[in-house]
């Protein structure tokens, strides 16, 4: 039964991906992409990694869907280009590449254990119980810090393109019908509640900074879609503090641990530091993602209405 489920999920992933690339209508491709994200979440659940399923669900259905729909909004949809989407000359080399990689994958050793024993061995002397959060925030904290840097640079890049200093201006027209506002008022507190719950859960179960941050970002974007300026309401200084707090907390930790114990990014003994850094990272991820979605349409949207 497991094999049947894996085969079905695998085949449907490949088939949906092929339809996405092969479809002529752009809107159809976006909807198929949202379905692709859904089936991928099922695959993550089947592979026993629930926190990635949560992150994929929040990012795929929540943020990517909204981003692509907005991008499509700006495009006057046409029936699609007449010629076939994927030229045949391209098909042949890609088939060769796919077969080479498929053969190479056969050589992955059956009893491949990777770094499991090492991580579980070192888990005792960190103050975090759940291995994934420990790897993210303690063993490979440098990766997480640079990844927060990537988020920050993306926000700076988007604001550079839009020539704006902050996102205070971008506000959408409130949806005409009352149901739009009503549903936001109900779903929003629940999403913020789930975001906090996932963050708190992170210390000892699948959850943590990333999932909490992404869920809060989805909540913020939902608020924005209801016509509320959400993060745009904050004065510029507060918005900058929220934006930088994740990256800054790692920076302060790095400076402090470098000059205190000579080893950069070494967490001090008491657990409060790591939790503080984790919460700051959550807030920073949520703010960066919301700012990305809010800043991309630019101010021209508000002026038209």
């Amino acid at each position: 039964m497991n094999l049947a489920f894996d085969l079905l999920v695998g085949l449907s992933l490949v088939w949906v991906a092929w339809r996405i690339v092969g479809s002529r209508d752009h809107f159809q491709a976006v909807v198929l992409f949202i379905t692709f994200g859904l089936i991928l979440s099922l695959a993550w659940t089947r592979l026993q990694s629930p926190d990635i399923a949560i992150a994929e669900a929040a990012v795929g259905a929540g943020l990517a869907g909204v981003l692509f729909m907005d991008a499509l909004g700006g495009l006057s949809s046409s029936p699609g280009s007449p010629r076939p989407a994927v030229p045949l000359t391209l098909l042949f080399p890609c088939l060769i590449l796919a077969s080479i990689m498929a053969i190479a994958v056969l050589f992955v050793p059956e009893d491949f254990l990777g770094l499991i024993p090492v991580v579980h061995g070192a888990l005792t002397d960190t103050s975090l119980e759940y291995p994934v959060t420990a790897v993210l925030l303690d063993f490979r904290a440098y990766d997480t810090w640079l990844e927060l840097g990537v988020l920050l640079v993306a926000v700076l890049g988007v604001m550079g393109i839009r020539r704006i200093g902050s996102i205070s201006g971008s506000r959408l027209p409130a949806p005409a019908d009352p149901v739009g506002r009503w549903i936001i008022r109900i779903l929003l507190p629940i999403m913020v509640l789930i975001g906090g719950y996932l963050l708190w859960l992170g210390a000892f179960a699948p959850g943590g900074a990333f999932q909490g941050g992404v869920v809060l970002a989805a909540a913020g974007v939902m608020l924005w879609q209801a016509g509320h300026p959400s993060l745009g309401l904050l004065p510029r200084l507060w918005w900058i503090v929220l934006l930088f707090c994740g990256f800054l907390s790692f920076l302060i930790l790095a400076f402090w641990s470098l000059f205190h114990s000579g080893r950069m990014l070494a967490h001090p003994e008491n657990k409060l530091w790591i939790l503080g850094v984790e919460y700051a990272a959550t807030i920073s991820i949520a703010t960066c993602l919301i700012s990305l979605v809010l800043a991309s349409p630019g101010r021209c949207r508000v002026r038209d209405n």
């Binding site: 490949v14 752009h26 592979l47 990694s49 890609c94 990844e147 890049g157």
Partner: protein, 105 residues
């Protein structure tokens, strides 16, 4: 033919399909969607390495890598989409080079 194999082969074919989409589509938004499919494929490959049905459970390091990768990919996608929208606003055509014969804007 255990599940490691099924998901790894699916992952590599997703990577190839995404690469094909990136090369084939003139429209910018379609290119960015294909990039996300490539990313999905690579992450599926990483997690298929980490998955062991019974004994020590799932390897946390690839999971951490994929979590970092998901957030990096969404921020890169948002940046690329903002660039694409700006290009569409300025030049009116959502493509990198404006070939006259295609009406698809």
């Amino acid at each position: 033919m255990n599940s490691l194999l099924i998901y790894s082969i699916t992952a590599t074919s997703l990577f190839t399909i995404g690469l094909m989409g990136l090369a084939a589509h003139p429209n910018l938004i379609r290119k960015i969607i294909s990039l996300n499919i490539m990313a999905g494929g690579v992450f599926l490959f990483l997690i298929s390495l980490a998955y062991h049905p019974d004994d020590p459970g799932v390897d946390p390091v690839p999971q951490a890598m994929v979590l970092t990768g998901i957030v990096v990919t969404i921020s890169a996608t948002a940046f690329a989409l903002c660039l694409a929208r700006r290009i569409t606003e300025i030049t009116g055509s959502s493509r990198l080079e404006d070939k006259p014969e295609d009406t698809d804007s």
